[in-house]
């Protein structure tokens, strides 16, 4: 029964990893831009929710507001700064976003202090659900349900709408899109905002589970990389499957070998790289 509990936990965790990784993946797919500030957007989402709830805003309002604020901030950063370096080598994409992440981390420490804090789940979800002979926190069930709805919505957005078609076509050939008369700059900004907003939402959702601290961004960034490496960059299904696999593996290991739980996800990644360098769902 504890295994069922851990698997459920792992799915919730994995869905948050999916939100993180799919944002990274969509940005990379369209812009060929690897965003090392992705973890910083996740952290900002968490801290914004933490701050708003602390000031008496309802969690249900804080959640979408944190997501939108991060998306807007990211879109602004893209338009003002990052689009100027797209033409350069990847080294400078990485350098600029590492610098951005460092600046965000220090600002977070200046504003909220180096210690971090806790965000209680909303009162309506602070209870537990009794399933047979084990209890499960309501908030975690809510996270699973909400992220599942989001995942479906995102699938529809990317595969079923005009915007999704533009994004996918832009990933294949930005030049063709520009020739067809699309304003690729606006699309780039929108997609960057969307990807970062998903990271911010993942952070806000994770805050009641893990709390907030100024160093949560590095862990989130490297987990998103692991998910993308295992699932294959640019693959929606890959991000979903790898996100859940990583979450469940980490969660199960917490009962079997607590100290090594996070070690295992990186060992798993190494194993996938040895066997399938392209990732499980990656296109060649």
């Amino acid at each position: 029964m504890t295994y069922l509990f851990q698997i459920l936990n792992g799915i919730g965790l994995g869905m948050l990893y999916f939100l993180l990784a799919v944002g990274l993946s969509v940005i990379f797919g369209l812009l060929q831009f690897v965003n090392f500030a992705h973890g910083a957007f996740y952290m900002l989402g968490a801290y914004l929710a933490y701050e708003m709830v602390g000031r008496g805003v309802s969690f249900w309002l804080a959640l979408p507001l944190a997501c939108l604020a991060v998306a807007a901030l990211a879109a602004l950063t893209e338009a003002a700064l990052l689009r100027r370096i797209y033409a350069q080598a990847h080294t400078f994409h990485i350098l600029a976003t590492v610098g951005l992440a460092l600046a965000v981390q220090e600002i977070v420490i200046i504003v909220w202090g180096p210690i971090g804090g806790n965000l209680p789940p909303p009162d309506s979800l602070s209870g537990v659900v009794i399933l047979g002979d084990f209890v499960y926190p309501e908030y975690r069930l809510f996270v699973i349900a909400l992220t599942a709805i989001l995942a479906a919505g995102l699938w529809w957005l990317l595969e079923g709408t005009r915007l999704g078609a533009i994004v996918r076509a832009g990933s294949e050939s930005p030049e063709d899109m520009a020739l067809l008369g699309y304003d690729t700059r606006r699309i780039n900004t929108a997609v960057f905002g969307l990807g970062a907003g998903l990271a911010g939402l993942a952070g806000a959702l994770a805050a009641p589970i893990r709390g907030v601290d100024p160093f949560m961004s590095v862990e989130a960034l490297s987990v998103a990389f692991v998910v993308v490496v295992i699932g294959g960059m640019g693959s929606y299904v890959g991000a979903l499957a790898a996100g859940i696999a990583v979450g469940v593996a980490q969660s199960l290991m917490t009962t079997l070998w607590p100290e090594g739980a996070r070690l295992m996800i990186y060992l798993g990644m190494a194993a996938v790289i040895v066997m399938r360098p392209r990732g499980l769902f990656g296109r060649a």
Binding site: V34, A89, T91, G99, L100, L102, V229, L263, I273
Partner: protein, 330 residues
């Protein structure tokens, strides 16, 4: 003058001058030693970044492992430091061979992501096996090396010890970079498909570059552990990998001395600024964005520009001529 700045002998002379100048301008022997140690590690990072076109986010793995290997060998075997250091280099080279071999299975940004994920893997290894590494506390009481039967407890005496090794290893890295092997790395950096088509075993060359870089970085890590008397967990953290990479890029990827310059700039600026404002890393973050936008050839690029201005721009080269080429996009 601009031609002069391209000569390896001049770079070595600058490195030697740095060794001589640091004691004159710095009050702290510890800071001076740190500059040489991180300068060495940054130069090893640059062998991958500038010469092979590999942006490795995993240099902290080798730095941290070097610290742990030196600490464990010094504490548990009683070997003298001069016997421990070659063993540390072997550990660094072996680990870098494994990490490099796995990471170069992917190219471009995937490669970068893999090296970062591996650095997390080794961090959690060190964290998990705390009976060996001391976990959060680090491996304590790492001794200074003995010379003439006495430990080098004076900071400047240890600085001299570090300086000798620094110059020897810097020269060795230069020899590697100038050798046929090093030229081949440049060919791989500039056009991997062509180098492969000519018949070079590209992957073996990249792994070899990793092994050399890993050995030197591990030695720097060992010197650092002996400097501060601890092999701390932070030496194998993401943060160390990031710092080494930042030092290398701030200096400029053009040559190995530029990396020493980058390390010196980072550490001295950090020392001065952190005394005034503990959140100085905010300024560093802004500086990195500025470098990406306006100063892609780093501090070395500034020196070259100044030299070109001084000689009326006659021998000045276009700024992009030797910049690292665009990585192949997947």
């Amino acid at each position: 003058m601009t031609r002069l700045l391209e000569r390896p002998l001049v770079h070595f002379a600058l490195a030697a001058a740095t060794v001589l100048v640091l004691p004159l301008v710095l009050r702290s022997g510890t800071l001076a030693s740190e500059i040489l140690i991180y300068g060495l590690a940054a130069a090893a990072c640059n062998l991958l970044l500038g010469y092979t076109g590999l942006l490795s986010f995993g240099q902290g793995i080798f730095f941290g492992l070097g610290s742990y290997a030196a600490g464990l060998l010094l504490l548990r075997t009683g070997w003298p430091a001069l016997a421990v250091l070659p063993a540390v280099a072997v550990v660094g080279a072996a680990t870098a061979t494994a990490v490099g071999w796995l990471s170069i299975r992917r190219q471009g940004v995937y490669f970068v992501m893999l090296t970062l994920a591996f650095s997390q893997l080794f961090y959690f290894l060190a964290y998990t096996f705390s009976d060996l590494t001391g976990g959060d506390n680090g491996l304590l009481n790492v001794p200074r090396p003995m010379v003439g039967g006495k430990p080098l407890s004076d900071p400047w005496a240890y600085y001299a010890y570090v300086a000798v090794l620094f110059l020897a290893l810097f020269a060795a890295l230069q020899r590697v970079a100038l050798s046929t092997f090093g030229r081949t790395l440049l060919a791989i950096r500039d056009n991997e498909a062509r180098a492969s088509a000519i018949g070079f075993p590209v992957r073996a060359f990249k792994v070899a570059a990793f092994a050399i870089s890993g050995a030197v970085t591990a030695l720097a890590g060992a010197l650092h552990a002996m400097l501060i008397g601890v092999a701390p967990l932070s030496n194998i953290e993401y943060h160390t990998s990031e710092t080494l990479l930042i030092m290398t890029i701030i200096g400029g990827a053009a040559n190995l001395f530029a990396s020493v310059l980058g390390a010196a700039f980072y550490l001295i600026a950090g020392d001065l600024l952190s005394a005034i404002w503990p959140r100085w890393l905010l300024l560093l973050g802004v500086l990195l964005v500025a470098i990406a936008l306006f100063m892609q050839r780093g501090l070395w690029g500034l020196i070259e520009r100044a030299a070109a201005l001084a000689t009326r721009g006659g021998a000045g080269r276009s700024p992009d001529e030797r910049a690292a080429p665009e990585e192949s996009r997947p």
